[in-house]
């Protein structure tokens, strides 16, 4: 299958990418690792007139520390995230979840930022970004703005990144001592997408849980926070995890498709939340 013809611009900087996007707007598409976009181009489900390749924008690559945050460039590949000691030390949930994404060859090309900007409901990293309370740095013609995780995922395959904007980097608060994490992904065969996934980070002090953040993969058109579970966990000890996890499917509207029916997904969300929180709480 051969994509429809398009013009190609290899951006040398964020500013250049933003300028071209500003000129071509809805006719333009950003190309990161291409592991979602190139299949769509080939199927002609996407047919931009111009493709703006940000793959060689230096500023968008790599992981760095900034005080209490880790900053991950949007073009950092899944393989680089997995290999990063900084990520493993300070945001281990992301290392763990990224290892479950696709397969080694796709992870060599596919990027952290591309996964978030694409916002596939079955993608693993959007829910992880919610659980880690990420902030998204977006560049447009008016400069840069920072969007919190809760405002980033707008609708099915739709984020706060406008057609004339570029996701530059993602800021993640470091998880300090006392935090545990777990990503539970339920899928049928290796390399496949999640039917449901649950990303949990839990903080314990004096034996009880005082903070928990839980992100749900594929439980609706966007990733979701399991707020009812988070509230029920606050102040609970590990014996309360089972009861709290019963709320995991509250206010969710998962799709019914070949992967599973909606009620099956809701069942999975409860089971996987119990497992993820138990593991994250070390119980």
């Amino acid at each position: 299958m051969i994509p429809a013809a398009f013009d190609y611009v290899r951006a040398g900087s964020v500013d250049e990418a933003v300028r071209v996007l500003g000129e071509r707007g809805e006719d333009a598409k950003v190309l990161a690792g291409g592991q979602s976009l190139i299949p769509l181009l080939r199927l002609r489900l996407s047919y931009p007139e111009v493709v703006v390749d940000v793959g060689r924008v230096e500023e968008m690559h790599g992981v760095r520390e900034d005080g209490e945050h880790l900053v991950i460039g949007a073009m950092t590949t899944h393989a680089e995230v997995i290999d990063s000691d900084l990520v493993r030390t300070h945001c281990g949930l992301l290392s763990e979840a990224t290892e479950t994404v696709a397969d080694p060859a796709v992870r060599h090309r596919g990027t952290f930022g591309g996964s978030l900007a694409h916002a596939d409901p079955a993608g693993d990293l959007p829910a992880v970004a919610l659980a880690l309370d990420a902030e998204f740095v977006i560049a447009g013609s008016g400069g840069r703005r920072t969007v919190p995780a809760q405002g980033f995922f707008v609708d099915y395959l739709q984020t706060a990144v406008g057609a004339d904007e570029v996701l530059v980097e993602v800021r993640l608060p470091k998880l300090g001592a006392g935090w545990g994490h777990r990503y539970e992904k339920f899928h049928r065969v290796a390399q496949s997408w999640a039917i449901v996934g649950v990303a949990a980070v839990v903080h314990r002090s004096n034996g009880s849980i005082d903070q928990a953040r839980i992100g749900l993969t594929n439980m609706g058109p966007t990733p979701l926070r399991a707020s009812a579970v988070e509230q029920a966990l606050s102040g609970a000890d590990v014996s309360g995890i089972g009861a709290a996890a019963e709320h995991a499917a509250d206010d969710t509207s998962p799709a019914s498709d070949l992967g599973g029916a909606a009620d099956y997904r809701q069942h999975l969300a409860r089971v996987l939340t119990r497992r993820a929180v138990s593991a994250a709480a070390g119980g």
Binding site: A105, V106, H108, A190
Partner: protein, 155 residues
């Protein structure tokens, strides 16, 4: 048209290409490296796997323009006077039947052994999760990678 310059199996090549040209079509149709097949054309099967700057990629999911300035190794560039240890091990262990998946399987195995010279069985299976084989049932492929590893297959 965009002018690209790529090193393929050690030889420098230069071409004017359409931006929409996929790397696998570039390799097969412009450079003549037909050892790399197209299997699924949906990024799933891994038959088209090559090394891009030493790392495995599915060449049906990369644009030729993205490879500009890079070094590509295809199955045709692996042997170096004699077969690569992974190639020999695939033959010895009967790790192929129809052979369609084999170029990609071997390239993914080479990439795996380069980063992990003595993988466990589980690590081999995980390392090859992006490569599908319709014939062998994978058992002999795993054996071939183990055999190549024992013979110092990372080269």
């Amino acid at each position: 048209m965009v002018h690209i310059s790529v090193t393929v199996d050690g030889a420098q090549t230069q071409h004017d290409v359409e931006p929409r040209l996929l790397l696998v079509h570039y390799l097969r149709e412009r450079v003549g490296k037909v050892g790399t097949p197209v299997g699924c054309d949906t990024s799933n099967c891994g038959a088209c796997t090559v090394l891009l700057d030493g790392k495995s990629v599915k060449s049906c999911s990369v644009l030729a323009v993205q490879a500009d300035g890079s070094e590509i190794t295809t199955i045709e560039g692996l042997a170096n006077g004699e077969w690569h240890p992974v190639q020999s091990a695939f033959k010895e262990c009967h790790a192929l039947q129809c052979g369609y998946c084999t170029p990609g399987m071997i390239m993914a195995s080479v990439d795996l052994l380069n980063s992990n010279p003595s993988p466990s069985e589980e690590e081999i299976r995980a390392g090859l999760e992006g490569n599908l084989c319709r014939c062998t049932g994978y058992q002999n492929i795993v054996k071939a990678v183990q055999t190549a590893a024992a013979q110092g297959g990372a080269r």
